[in-house]
Symmetry: C3
Subunit: 272 residues, 3 copies
Amino acid sequence: MNINSESIVHDLTQIRQKKPLIHNVTNYVTMEWVANGLLSLGASPVMAHAPEEVADIVKISGALVMNIGTLSAPWVSSMKLALQAAKDYGVPVVLDPVGAGATPYRTQVARDLLSQGGVSVVRGNPSEICALAGGSPTTRGVETSLLPSEACASASKLHQEFGCVVVASGPDDLILGPERAMRVYNGTAMMARVTGMGCLVSAVIAAFCAVQKDPTLAAAHAMAYCGIVGERAAVNIQGPGSYAVTYVDLLSELKEDWISKLLTVESHVSLS
Amino acid sequence: MNINSESIVHDLTQIRQKKPLIHNVTNYVTMEWVANGLLSLGASPVMAHAPEEVADIVKISGALVMNIGTLSAPWVSSMKLALQAAKDYGVPVVLDPVGAGATPYRTQVARDLLSQGGVSVVRGNPSEICALAGGSPTTRGVETSLLPSEACASASKLHQEFGCVVVASGPDDLILGPERAMRVYNGTAMMARVTGMGCLVSAVIAAFCAVQKDPTLAAAHAMAYCGIVGERAAVNIQGPGSYAVTYVDLLSELKEDWISKLLTVESHVSLS
Amino acid sequence: MNINSESIVHDLTQIRQKKPLIHNVTNYVTMEWVANGLLSLGASPVMAHAPEEVADIVKISGALVMNIGTLSAPWVSSMKLALQAAKDYGVPVVLDPVGAGATPYRTQVARDLLSQGGVSVVRGNPSEICALAGGSPTTRGVETSLLPSEACASASKLHQEFGCVVVASGPDDLILGPERAMRVYNGTAMMARVTGMGCLVSAVIAAFCAVQKDPTLAAAHAMAYCGIVGERAAVNIQGPGSYAVTYVDLLSELKEDWISKLLTVESHVSLS
């Protein structure tokens, strides 16, 4: 199935009607931002990490997000419990390997989670994707100067090793699923000026996964929609503070005409 | 005593003059939002949870808020220490049982805190109130589709069992205290589009409790004021992002004419 | 070397070109705000606290910030590990002793960190500085009514005891370094209406320390720039919510003419 404005609007409408519970075991820095973004999108965010309850929350959720932005041992244990529950109950899972490559601990934790199985989509910047695939540890915190096109080989390797959809996001986004790859060109440089934009995008992928059974298509829809909102929000820029506010405002609108006008994707990309 | 615009303005003025310290042992998601809301209101927020210091903070505080939004065992221990200190020093306490009913763990922790004694006001959505009172566990995360009027019996049961004021908030708010019940009709649907609006309202109840000895009246004042600010903030809606910013802006203003114009309450509600 | 608009602009330009990684072991409340502020300034924020990785992050960072706003024993351990790594690798360190004096625990932890050595700059409000220097514990949470001028003796004592630059900030800011003291008069009362403004200022000092070897000058540059941005942001005030958004917006601009027009400092203050 191709990605087009109708398929995006279909999934968005489903999110707004079903208001799927999105369970986030995530970092401290961007929890509120991600919760507000998901709520504005039409989903129902829950942040919970206690080992006593993560499985109970996963059971009633439409999708699970694991984000290692401020990881520590107790949180990693909770992620593993939540991931196990997601496998047991058939709940789709998105992994955001924030800072993989920056420290051996992060790289190892992210790979451990992938090895456990059950991750539907992993989304990172190209450096993080390369680090996860065993490439050189060039990540400098959460920044990257690599382009998604430079992460193609690593994305393929990760996909083959763990079977999940791999998204390398940046100026353009590479989405690599089983037997296909897509590229999304929407977005704008301003998005990188807001802390946690990547975290939010990963959570939006989870919201799309809650209503769209094909995780490759769900990921592409999310990347395209987030990019389109980002372009629209940049129309009258005052600075990164008001850009973030406007971004949340616009997530709540469903303007089909924006999507059909701005959508720029390749549904079938050859990686060879 | 009835609730009216003069009684609200009186308490608001006291908050702004005394700047009571409000101690929050609360969730990670909405800490900053709640701190900014309290600060804009005129109170002095403190967030602290270390067992080494919670009692010391309670001792110098005008009120304590306990919010179980992202609870875990160490934080629950700290809440119990803080609650004990509040009892010892006569500091009013507000409990926000976020997500009670969504998992057995949350319901149990919230009931344990209530059982310990010393809670002045518990504020939740109708699902949470019903779950705490032993009703069917219908809570779906922090959302609810029950109306406050459907939580009357549960609110009465909770009030009788634990002796605290019970607030079931929603499109309208039920405030149930000793020998009386009030209803507040202020507020707007937009408030539910912002993560942590309920958390902030609970913290505002605490701020009113710091200056108003009658916790029923303090809760009603807080619900009315938060609802009135919510209505005013909705006048020029761009979306949930800018609505949240405007909400914090308006909390800092004390416009007596808004309050007298918009206040819509019933000071004596019959629950039978 | 004197502080003037050219020296500030020089350092700002360096920050924007080098985008130094600023490692924050900080409080839960203001993490997102500080991250967005640093990002808007041009630096690269990282928040990380796991003992498994703090040293690895410090090693690749331009500066470290330790902020005890929501301290607890595990975080204090991580701060000590991070501080040791900063000493080992020669990374400048800023300590924000939030709430020192409010509880014995906070005062003790802040002094323990100072005693460990390696802190380049400590920035607090006058109450916190006095509490750290062993003065009367008058701090009431994170507020203060003392003026920086009333903290001169305490600042001198702290500087002599621990060898670090001491900043007492308030309506005006005292910056006390080796053999010199400066005073910055920029800023506005509105800054105190936003939660975490002090936390952000401390992080901005760290960003300046990452590009400016003289920590006294780095601290003065940061205090002046943050104050100037604060004055500019206050031009059209709607309230504290939109003020915070505008503050982040303006941090990203480098308007040399504002700086030269608004800068008000004394480069050589006599403390006797």
